[in-house]
């Protein structure tokens, strides 16, 4: 890898949150999600919108970032929440951003505790036909129960970017695209 020609820094001074008077500092919402979209698609109005989210305290974001970038390059509009999101933060991001797909990346083993709340919250807030994907370290034994809860697909280690892209293209509810 060459260090020349990098681009797109974000000044992190914007990412420091000072506590308001009396309120707990972490009650406030997260940083505004970073939004990028691929330049390949000519009809932006028909773009599939994908939220890639990192719930819980898990800091493993290599996979989430690689997927976010790959989906963007595949022509989707991608919103990445950044790390350490509570279920409420993810639910409101999904609703506010009016996404078609929510991809949850979890590698800490907390999936059974976090996923149901997020799916339920999004569905209750009108995201009935959202496509829910989970990626990360998910033991085989946990997959059937996640599927039952409404996760459409679980991508475990070794899943290719291509398979994720193909799955979304095939299964996203196109009627929500306008």
């Amino acid at each position: 890898m060459c260090s020349e020609g990098f681009s797109g820094y974000i000044e992190i001074r914007e990412c420091i949150e000072m506590p308001q008077k009396k309120t707990a500092p972490r009650k406030t919402s997260g940083t505004k999600p970073a939004k990028k979209s691929g330049a390949m698609v000519s009809a932006p109005a028909r773009k599939v919108r994908v939220l890639i989210a990192k719930p819980g305290l898990d800091g493993h974001d290599r996979g989430a970032k690689v997927i976010a970038r790959a989906l963007m390059e595949a022509g989707f509009e991608v919103i990445y929440t950044g790390l350490h999101q509570t279920p409420e933060m993810i639910i409101s991001a999904a609703i506010e951003e009016d996404v078609h797909v929510v991809g949850l990346s979890i590698l800490s083993g907390a999936h059974n505790a976090l996923v149901p709340e997020i799916i339920e919250g999004i569905r209750k807030s009108g995201g009935d036909d959202t496509l829910f994907l989970v990626g990360g370290i998910i033991p085989d034994d946990d997959i059937p129960s996640l599927r039952k809860l409404g996760v459409h697909m679980v991508f475990t280690p070794g899943a290719s970017i291509e398979s994720v892209v193909a799955y979304i293209r095939k299964n996203v509810k196109t009627r929500t695209l306008s």
Binding site: F6, Y9, I12, C15, I16, A24, P25, G30, L83, G158
Partner: protein, 561 residues
């Protein structure tokens, strides 16, 4: 000055040219199976290295002797003959009782030192009964909320007889204070406790992402522990400057070296700004490398790292003590290289990586267990991983000779090449105004994200092969292996425990300890004595962190990709 092997004679040059012509002829009939050959970090490598490729090589300048500047061959004079590397398996899960039992098993199995893995809530400064901790209690490590947990964790383990490494960063001063308090309770004097605090906050912003406060107050906490340890804990390694997480996040070998050493430079500067003498604290800084899958690249990286640090400490920081020049390092085999597919293959990967660390001259080593990509390791898997180190130490012969790969044309060429690339990055970071400024610009983060993406593309296009992942995949389901399940009652047990501790503690003392810490944080004094008082009064990790959150604010992920 005599430079380079005398082998590059006119006759050699002529012979080499002749052989090159022959090679070109040969490759017309037997073309190479790929267009380009590169290391796992995608650094292009030649077919062969000869005296020509390292013609500037100077033995005394570039290698020297083991235990002497620039330490390319190792920091100890007789290396493993005199002191075997420390076999230190990182471990922790469930509650303190669960992990205490695992530690005793590892010590009985011949492990030399302990290495504590804390669960996510502790790493992030939350208690087990906090809403943020839902589903995370005891999952990725051991739950430690108060001194009472730490007492249980080391129950029956005399702290003057073992060394302990603690992987903790934002709340590092709190966990260090707990360890000191446990030693006090065991009657062990401070100068007798030995171990390592990771305490490397810069790499959290760069790679591991377990931050709480913004970078500047976080650096103040690091400097506080550095100062406290330098004065009070003479045998404690104050910061384990870690490349591991940087590499795992996707960095190349050269980026791992560069960003980690640049972090080291920032910590030395922080110590100097505190008014400490470089030779009083630099000898207690240690390093922590990842050992990835490209065997020679890793060996070269370890060697280049020692040479770079020695030169930086002597020439840039004018350190006079040779102990300040030495890059002592722990290493861990690459978690990210393990595959969920055909998991038994991971034993082979770990063996090769561990051998690379040993031939690279590591001083301490953790070998991953074959099942760690699926869950925390089972006892059987941990034992295989420990035995792998013992087989290398006792059977392979690799520990008999110092730096046995030193002088290999290829290894010396690669060592130079990685060092040069890493120095280029450090120069760039210096231009930004140091690592803190570079992090604020998002420089290392962007470089790592780019490298991670580049690597994933290489896997997808099969330019790089991972066995069982993008080649030699099994048609049948993988052989099942046992996976450790964390007891579902851990969360409940831990919540009850906090409630119990809060009920029994002197709440007046706890309250005034927290108030004292707040005042110190708002001012300029060293916070360590106040944190110690909080810990001794059984304040929880989150209570202490919340005081500091209130004063310093919190840091949020910029979410760049």
């Amino acid at each position: 000055m005599a430079r380079g092997p005398k082998d590059v004679t006119p006759e050699f040059t002529e012979e080499y040219a002749r052989w090159r012509r022959k090679l070109a002829e040969h490759e017309r009939k037997h073309p190479p199976n790929r267009k380009r050959f590169s290391t796992w970090s995608d650094m292009e490598v030649p077919l062969i290295c000869t005296p020509e490729e390292i013609k500037d090589f100077d033995y005394l300048r570039d290698l020297g002797f083991p235990g002497e500047f620039p330490y390319t061959r190792g920091v100890q004079t007789n290396m493993y003959r005199g002191k075997m590397w420390t076999m230190r398996q990182f471990s922790g899960f469930g509650t303190a009782e669960d992990t205490n039992a695992r530690y005793k098993m590892l010590l009985r199995g011949g492990q030399h030192g302990l290495s504590v893995a804390f669960h996510m809530p502790t790493l992030m400064g939350y208690d087990s009964d906090s809403p943020e901790s839902k589903g995370e209690v005891g999952k990725c490590g051991v739950a430690v909320d108060t001194l009472a947990d730490m007492e249980t964790l080391f129950d029956g383990i005399p702290l003057d007889e073992i060394t302990t490494s603690m992987t903790i960063n934002s709340p590092a001063p709190i966990l260090l204070a707990m360890y000191v308090a446990v030693a006090e309770k065991q009657g062990v004097p401070r100068e007798k406790i030995r171990g390592t605090l990771q305490n490397d906050i810069l790499k959290e912003y760069i790679a591991q992402k377990e931050w709480i406060y913004p970078p500047k107050p976080s650096m103040r906490l690091v400097a506080d522990t550095l100062e406290f340890c330098t004065k009070e804990l003479p045998n404690w390694n104050t910061i384990s400057i870690s490349g591991y997480h940087i590499r795992e996040a996707g960095a190349t070998a050269a980026q791992e070296l560069a960003f980690t050493i640049a972090d080291g430079i920032a910590y030395v500067q922080a110590g100097l700004e505190r008014g400490l003498d470089v030779d009083d604290f630099a000898p207690r800084l240690s390093y922590f490398w990842d050992v990835h899958s490209d065997f020679f690249e890793e060996v070269a990286k370890f060697r280049a790292g020692r040479r770079m640090w020695a030169r930086i400490m002597r020439d840039r920081f004018k350190a006079k003590s040779p102990r300040s020049w030495m890059l002592r390092t722990h290493a861990q085999t690459a978690g990210v290289s393990l595959t969920a597919q055909q998991p038994l293959n991971n034993i082979s990967r770990v063996t090769l990586q561990a051998l690379a660390a040993v031939l690279g001259g590591t001083n301490s080593l953790h070998t991953n267990s074959m099942d760690e990509t699926l869950a925390l390791p089972t006892e059987q898997a941990v034992m295989v991983a420990l035995r792998t180190q013992q087989i290398i130490a006792e059977e392979s012969g690799a520990a008999n000779v110092v730096d046995p790969l030193g002088g290999s044309y290829f290894v010396e060429w690669l060592t130079n090449k990685i060092e040069k690339e890493a120095c280029r990055y450090i120069h760039k970071i210096d231009e930004f105004g140091g690592m803190l400024a570079s992090i604020e610009k998002g420089f290392p983060q962007a470089e790592i994200a780019n490298a991670a993406y580049h690597f994933q593309r290489q896997i997808e296009t099969k330019q790089k092969v991972m066995v069982g992942v993008n080649k030699y995949e099994s048609k049948e389901k993988d052989l099942p292996i046992d996976v450790l399940c964390i007891d579902k009652t851990a969360e409940e047990r831990q919540k009850n425990r906090i409630a119990d501790v809060k009920r029994r503690r002197d709440s007046g003392r706890a309250g005034s300890a927290l108030a004292g810490l707040k005042k110190a944080a708002q001012g300029k004094e060293n916070m360590m004595p106040h944190i110690l008082e909080c810990v001794r009064s059984y304040c929880t990790v989150q209570e202490i962190c919340d005081v500091l959150r209130g004063v310093f604010g919190v840091y949020r992920d910029p979410g760049m990709y």
